[in-house]
C-alpha cells in the first residue's frame, strides 16, 4: 500500500494545538471584544472553529496526504455549503424590513 502513514507524534501535536485553540475560544468568549469592533466576538469564535476544523480535516482525516482528486471532493462539499449560506443570507440581508 503506497499510502502515507502519519506518525502518532503528528497526531499528538495536532491534538495539543486543538486543545490550545479550545481554551482560547472559551477565554475569548469571556472578553467583550464587541467593544473593539462590531461583531468581533463571533468573528473570532468562527475563525478559531474553522482553524480547528481545518486541522482535523488535514491531519486526522488525512486530507493533507491525499491525492488532488480527493482534495477536490473535500473542497467541493464545503463549497456547496458556502453557496447555500451566502445566497440565503444575502437574500435575508437585502430584505428591507423594519424588524430586522
Amino acid at each position: 500500500m503506497s499510502e502515507h502513514i502519519v506518525s502518532p507524534k503528528i497526531y499528538l501535536l495536532i491534538f495539543a494545538v486543538l486543545m490550545i485553540l479550545t481554551v482560547t475560544t472559551v477565554y475569548a468568549a469571556t472578553v467583550d471584544l464587541n467593544a473593539y469592533f462590531h461583531s468581533l466576538n463571533i468573528i473570532v469564535a468562527l475563525v478559531i472553529a474553522t482553524c480547528k476544523a481545518i486541522l482535523v480535516i488535514l491531519f486526522f482525516m488525512h486530507a493533507y496526504y491525499s491525492s488532488k482528486r480527493t482534495k477536490l471532493i473535500v473542497f467541493a462539499g464545503f463549497f456547496w455549503l458556502a453557496i447555500m449560506l451566502s445566497l440565503t443570507l444575502s437574500d435575508y440581508a437585502s430584505r428591507h424590513l423594519d424588524a430586522h
Partner: protein
C-alpha cells in the same frame, strides 16, 4: 463474503481501489455537511433576528459541560486516528484498544449530553407545553441544578430582557427558538454519535478477529472519516450554542 483488500476486477491498482473508497466516503460526508448546514443556516438567521434572547438563553446552559465534551470528543478523534495508525503498522491488538477507547470517550460524551438534557428538562427549557423561561426564577428551589448566585444573576438579566422584548410572551416565544435549535442541532449530532458508536462496535468485533492489517484497513479509515466529521460538527456547535456571550 468479507472484503480482504485484494484487487477487485474493476480497479487497475490497489491504490486506485483504496482511493475510491475514500472518495465515496467524502462524497457521503458532503451530503452530511449540507444536512447539518441547513440547521446552521437556520441558527444564523434566527440568532441575527433575536440576538439578546439567544445571548441570554445560551448563558443558561452550563459552559463547563460543553467544554469538557469538546475535550472528550477531540480526544476521541485522536484515539480514532491512532487506531487507523495501529492498523497501518500491523499492531492488531492496538487497533482494538484504540477503537474501544474511542467508543468509551464517545459514550462519555453522550452521557454528559444526557446530564445536560436532564438539566434543561428540570429548568423547563424544553420547547413545548411546559416551556417557561421564568420557571426557575418564579419557583425558587425548583431548579436545584442552578446555584443561587447564578439564579440571582439570571433574574436580573431576565427582567432586563423582558423589558427589552416587551413582555414575557415575547421572551418565551423567541427563547423557544433558541432551545428548539439547541435540541435539534445537538440531538441530530448525538444521533450521529450513536450511529458512530454502532459502527465502532462492529469495527471492534471485526478487529478482534484480526481483520484489519497494513494491507487492508479501509473500514477503520472510513469510520474514522465519519467520526472526525461528527467531531467537526461539534467544533462548530460548541461556540455557537455555548459561547455566544459569556462576558
Amino acid at each position: 463474503m468479507h472484503r480482504t483488500g485484494e484487487l477487485s476486477g474493476q480497479f487497475q491498482t490497489l491504490e486506485q481501489q483504496k482511493e475510491s473508497a475514500t472518495l465515496g466516503m467524502w462524497i457521503f460526508l458532503s451530503t452530511e455537511i449540507l444536512f447539518f448546514g441547513g440547521l446552521f443556516l437556520t441558527y444564523t438567521i434566527n440568532r441575527h433576528t433575536y440576538p439578546d434572547v439567544f445571548s441570554f438563553s445560551s448563558r443558561t446552559i452550563k459552559l463547563s459541560w460543553g467544554a469538557i465534551n469538546t475535550v472528550v470528543l477531540i480526544g476521541s478523534s485522536l484515539t480514532m486516528a491512532m487506531s487507523v495508525w495501529s492498523a497501518q503498522v500491523g499492531k492488531k491488538k492496538l487497533v482494538t484498544f484504540f477503537l474501544i477507547a474511542t467508543l468509551v470517550l464517545g459514550s462519555v460524551f453522550l452521557g454528559i449530553k444526557g446530564i445536560e438534557y436532564h438539566d434543561k428538562f428540570v429548568e423547563h427549557h424544553v420547547p413545548g407545553l411546559s416551556f417557561d423561561m421564568y420557571y426557575c426564577t418564579n419557583n425558587p428551589g425548583a431548579c436545584s441544578n442552578v446555584s443561587p448566585e447564578d439564579l440571582a444573576k439570571e433574574k436580573v438579566e431576565l427582567d432586563e430582557l423582558t423589558k427589552k422584548m416587551g413582555g414575557e410572551t415575547a421572551v418565551n416565544a423567541n427563547s423557544q427558538l433558541f432551545f428548539s435549535l439547541y435540541f435539534g442541532m445537538t440531538g441530530l449530532h448525538a444521533l450521529h454519535m450513536i450511529i458512530g458508536a454502532g459502527l465502532l462496535l462492529w469495527l471492534i468485533q471485526q478487529s478482534t478477529k484480526g481483520r484489519f492489517t497494513a494491507q487492508y484497513n479501509t473500514p477503520v479509515e472510513n469510520v474514522g472519516l465519519y467520526w472526525h466529521f461528527v467531531d467537526i460538527v461539534w467544533i462548530y456547535l460548541f461556540p455557537l450554542l455555548y459561547l455566544i456571550d459569556r462576558h
